[in-house]
């Protein structure tokens, strides 16, 4: 049961082969037993989960079930869920029980899914290894000495360790795709504006986007069908016609034009990872796709521009954590300013503080033009590069991450090395495009993810491209050993 796809689980629930309460109980039992090994979840609340499962069973019995009714899912702890501890991986929100639901949670609740628990993450989604969490590092189920990637590392580890059938993530610079890649999952970051950000703790508002993390493209399509949609409460939500993201899954790939940017295939990528990527592309040629060389000449500027824009937005967003309205407050202080400063010094972790300082600096008087405006101009150049590239191809392919999962502690003391782990994913967020990570084999027992990048609103096409590959390969069906 625990290795079945979401549609197979839905069929089992519809056929009364298993109830939602039983299925949820099965996962809760596994979480209780195995989570200490991986630290994938921050909060689990069996009573709440089972209450939701009972509601789902009623929906199933009444013939009101949708495609996901009764299926338990892991939710990244960045999404506010009413009555659930919602920490965002931070001591600052270590006591925050959300009084409301994020739109994503509301949509999943309406669809009759069950919240299995809230997953661990880098603090405020700032990290690429899940080591910045106040609640401890997450271990990669493929090798517990290694990181799961980040920031959605808990979600990735939960699904890879069969502690959830699927999960949600958020992606500001690669935080869905990179952990999906490192844990052998399929992950999708939608076009900016497709999934509502309401109730999703803000890191960098012009880049943040929620999306699904699952075992297959087909599962991702089902999840995105529930997650996506216009939301008045998010001022950047796009009012577009409702789509069925699974509609094109089976479309043949003959004639598909794959763009291979030379900047993705040069130095800087591990040779083993590159070999798996090349093999995946060869598989696509067998499926009838053609490849064409393209160029993203400003790609190398993506990481520098991102580390101006994202911290600038973060420094503004995180100013709300002042110990007044919610979360942590320092126990001792002299006056109001001292209360703010001590609360923030004690409640925020090192990496988060570092990014707030960078952001405050680049936005401060005398530096704004040199840093912030320059970064925004480079952002335009990067977005234009993609516009040009997509004149020649339907989808861009390359590695998701330059390496497989690295060892816990390996990059923790060197922020710059950590930032460069997202060298292939960040440009996609700056441009606002959709991107996916798809399992494409292993190097030294650790998963490698192929990255797919599509033009704006091409999610259905990307899912189709990923699905057809998953029909002829079984990388996405592999599981780590020792999970019983």
């Amino acid at each position: 049961m625990i290795t079945r796809s979401l549609s197979a689980l839905a069929r089992a629930l519809a056929a009364r082969e298993i109830s939602s309460v039983e299925l949820t109980g099965l996962y809760l039992e596994r979480i209780a037993r195995l989570n200490p090994k991986f630290n994938a979840y921050i909060s689990v609340d069996a009573e709440k989960s089972l209450a939701q499962a009972r509601v789902a069973d009623d929906m199933l019995a009444a013939g009101q079930a949708g495609p996901l009714t009764g299926i338990p899912l892991a939710q990244k702890d960045i999404f506010c869920a009413k009555g659930w501890l919602t920490t965002c991986g931070s001591k600052m929100l270590g006591n925050f029980v959300s009084p409301y639901d994020a739109t994503v949670i509301e949509r999943f609740n309406a669809a009759g899914t069950v919240i299995l628990g809230k997953t661990n993450m880098d603090e405020f989604a700032m990290g690429s290894s899940n080591e910045t969490s106040h609640f401890g590092a997450v271990r990669n189920p493929w090798n517990t000495e290694c990181v799961p990637g980040g920031s959605s590392g808990g979600s990735a580890a939960a699904v890879a360790a069969l502690l959830a059938p699927a999960a949600t993530g958020t992606d500001t610079g690669g935080s869905i795709r990179q952990p999906a890649s490192m844990c052998g999952l399929t992950g999708l970051k939608p076009t900016y504006g497709v999934v509502s950000r309401y109730g999703m703790n803000a890191f960098a508002s012009s880049l943040d986007q929620g999306g699904p993390m699952a075992r297959s493209a087909e599962d991702c399509a089902l999840l995105l069908n529930t997650m996506a949609g216009f939301d008045e409460r998010d001022s950047t939500s796009l009012d577009r016609p409702v789509e069925n993201y699974a509609r094109d899954l089976e479309k043949p790939l003959a004639g598909l034009k794959i763009g291979l940017p030379r900047e993705f295939f040069g130095e800087g990528c591990d040779a083993g990872v590159m070999q798996r990527v090349e093999e995946a592309i060869a598989e696509y040629r067998k499926l009838g796709a053609e490849t064409v060389a393209v160029s993203l000449p400003n790609m190398k500027l993506a990481v520098p521009a991102y580390y101006v824009i994202a911290p600038a937005e973060a420094s503004s967003n995180l100013s709300r954590f002042d110990g007044v309205r919610y979360g942590y407050r320092a126990p001792e202080y002299a006056d109001l300013n001292d209360m703010y400063s001590k609360t923030r010094a004690q409640g925020l972790g090192e990496e988060v503080k570092r990014r707030i300082l960078i952001g405050t600096y680049v936005l401060s008087h005398g530096y704004y033009d040199a840093y912030y405006l320059q970064a925004q101009r480079i952002r335009r150049l990067i977005a234009n590069d993609f516009v040009e590239a997509f004149k020649q191809c339907d989808v861009i392919m390359g590695p998701t991450s330059p390496t497989t999962a690295f060892r816990i502690g390996e990059k923790a003391s060197d922020p710059v090395q950590m930032y460069l782990s997202d060298i292939y994913t960040i440009a996609v967020n700056l441009a606002g495009l959709p991107g996916m990570a798809v399992p494409a084999g292993f190097v030294g027992g650790l998963p490698v993810g192929l990255q797919l990048i599509g033009n704006y609103f091409s999610e259905a096409r990307l899912l189709n491209v990923a699905h057809r590959y998953q029909q002829v390969t079984d990388w996405h069906l592999q599981h780590p050993s020792g999970l019983d």
């Binding site: 504006g193 012009s206 002299a334 570092r354 300082l357 606002g432």
Partner: protein
């Protein structure tokens, strides 16, 4: 370019983050590493390029000027560190 210890302290003060001398020292080293990465950007000639603030060129949506939210003050204040009579309590600012 590289930052000075004084600049780190100044920025921390602007960001309302209490910082010890030892923390300022180690932060300085890390920030200078990050800024040397960011500096790669400075060599690019971007004259005439329109800054891109957002992924989608959107105009702010307008709505009718009507009350749409219900009052949930009690629920929202239940998670606050200190409240009294519907107000958030902070240290006295004016004597």
């Amino acid at each position: 370019m590289s930052l000075t210890l004084e600049q780190v302290r100044r920025v921390a003060q602007l960001a309302r983050i209490d910082i010890s001398d030892a923390e300022a020292e180690s932060t300085l080293g890390h920030l200078n590493g990050i800024f040397s990465l960011i500096e790669e950007m400075q060599a690019v000639d971007t004259r005439g390029v329109e800054p891109m603030a957002h992924a989608q060129d959107l105009a702010q949506r307008l709505r009718v000027d009507e009350v749409t939210e219900v009052n949930r003050r009690d629920a929202y204040q239940a998670v606050a560190p200190e409240t009294e009579a519907g107000l958030y309590l902070v240290p006295k600012v004016i004597e």
